[in-house]
């Protein structure tokens, strides 16, 4: 029994059907971790991108070093660090939050590069036109640069959403009951790994296909010229 559902081992099909609700509970955790991790990656990445672009090296250098560190160390190391080290400083987060934070941190290193490339792709011409019209730096950023950068940024960000989704099983090592972990537990207890793990694979495939299709649709809906301003 798991999450209040009973499994039925009398036959392969009934077994598969009986464990599906448990896997769906795990899948919901996976989705939540993905969304939360992605959201953190988007926010943190933007912060790093702004800091890295700062004119002062005292600001930009630590940001560059930190994102490089995030990029070059394994997710699981960062996860252990957050899970075992933060409590020593009195910061105790639930395993799920720690996991989402680790995903968000690791991927913020990648998203910051996407932001940087997207913002830099909006050329000198546009900044100069804005300057000649005396628009403020902030207004230029929010109404000239960002709307044009969005269509370049969204597709790349979408790829990272799918990557994050596929990295969620790493959180099982800190006891998060995401979908793979649930499948493994079912296998441990019923001595049948084939069916739960196959179902996990199938459900993963559905999730990533749906996410990719949604992102492609979003990408194709965004006008190439940028978010329109009437």
């Amino acid at each position: 029994m798991l999450f209040g559902f009973e499994w039925d081992t009398s036959g392969p099909l009934v077994f598969a059907i009986s464990i599906l609700p448990m896997l769906l509970v795990g899948m919901w955790v996976t989705i939540q971790a993905t969304v939360l991790g992605f959201f953190m990656a988007l926010v943190l990445g933007l912060i790093w991108a702004v800091l890295k672009a700062a004119p002062s090296r005292i600001v930009s250098w630590p940001a560059k070093a930190f994102t490089e560190f995030l990029r070059d160390t394994p997710l699981i190391v960062q996860l252990f660090f957050l899970y075992y080290v933060l409590p020593e400083f009195g910061i105790i987060l639930p395993a799920f939050m720690t996991g989402a934070l680790a995903l968000g941190m690791q991927y913020s290193a990648y998203t910051s590069e996407v932001y940087r490339a997207g913002l830099e792709a909006i050329g000198r011409d546009q900044r100069e036109a804005a300057r000649a019209l005396n628009l403020t730096t902030v207004r230029t950023f929010t109404h000239v640069i960002v709307p044009q950068a969005v269509p370049r940024i969204v597709p790349a960000m979408g790829n990272y959403l799918v990557s994050i989704m596929k990295d969620v099983p790493v959180l099982s090592v800190v006891t998060v009951l995401e979908m793979l972990n649930v499948g493994r537990i079912i296998g441990d207890r019923t001595f049948n790994y084939l069916i739960p793990l196959s179902l996990v694979g199938g459900l993963y495939l559905i999730m990533t296909l749906v996410a990719s299709a949604g992102l492609r649709l979003l990408g194709s809906r965004l006008p190439k010229q940028g978010i329109p301003l009437k």
Partner: protein, 256 residues
């Protein structure tokens, strides 16, 4: 009010080790229409970009309507961004590649700065934009996006956008160089119309010699960051005194 609106006094501009402008001197009178011609790399764009505050200077003083552009205060300390903002309001620029905001409608391109910088109401800015679109012959294109227009139309929007800020000085950097030949005329027509305005000071970098001759009060021939020769269009085009000028005009005539 003095008669001089632009003054370059021993202006030096370097890019790294390369000195692009070496103690350049010239003045432009209020309302004057001045064309700048010269070979590629002679510093024509740089002069306009310094005036538009897109490029700083390494020496000398640029004065716009009696006030230093890149300096402020009695000791001529380097200008603050606030000073540059104030000075910039007197100038407008039309770019070679238009530089319209591709995600904004034609109307929004023209009204964005008047609303956000000058503080006009949307309605007032729209009324001004409608007038200007009428002037440049695009009254029916306000709701379109730049990519839906031809190059000539885009450049006319560029002109309307610059005019919407009511500049005293309008800078044109090869406004027709990026256009297909058949679209050049419609843009020159608009610039020609503006040239009839008495108060507006115009600086035009161009390779359209015939047009420069028609509309200019004075022509400056730039060569290697200096003014090699200047004069009325008649004198400069028909009786140039410098060898370099003759050579340049000869090469241009051969081209087309």
């Amino acid at each position: 009010m003095t008669d001089t609106i632009i003054k370059f006094d021993k202006v030096v501009k370097r890019f790294g080790d390369v000195t692009v402008l070496n103690e350049l001197d010239f003045t432009v009178k209020r309302g004057e229409k001045v064309s700048i011609i010269g070979p590629s790399g002679s510093g024509k764009s740089t002069v306009l970009r310094i005036l538009m505050t897109l490029e700083g200077i390494e020496g000398g003083v640029v004065t716009v309507d009696g006030e230093p552009l890149w300096h402020e205060g009695p000791n001529l300390k380097p200008a603050s961004e606030a000073h540059l903002r104030k000075m910039r309001a007197q100038l407008g620029m039309v770019f070679q590649s238009f530089n319209l905001f591709p995600h904004m409608t034609v109307l929004r391109n023209i009204t964005e700065a008047p609303v956000k910088v000058l503080g006009l109401s949307r309605a007032a800015a729209k009324a001004r934009a409608d007038e200007l679109l009428d002037l440049v012959g695009l009254a029916d294109q306000a709701a379109k996006y730049p990519h839906q227009l031809s190059g000539g139309q885009q450049q006319r929007v560029g002109i309307a956008r610059a005019l919407a800020m009511r500049p005293k000085i309008l800078l044109f950097d090869e406004p027709t160089s990026a256009l297909d030949p058949e679209l050049v005329g419609e843009v020159l027509n608009v610039i020609g119309k503006l040239a009839e305005e008495h108060d507006l000071t115009m600086l035009l970098v161009t390779h359209e010699m015939r047009f420069a001759r028609e509309i200019s009060d004075r022509v400056l021939f730039f060569d290697q960051g200096r003014i090699c020769e200047e004069g009325s269009p008649e004198d400069l085009f028909t009786a140039p005194t410098q060898d370099r000028t003759r050579e340049f005009l000869g090469s241009i005539l051969k081209e087309g």
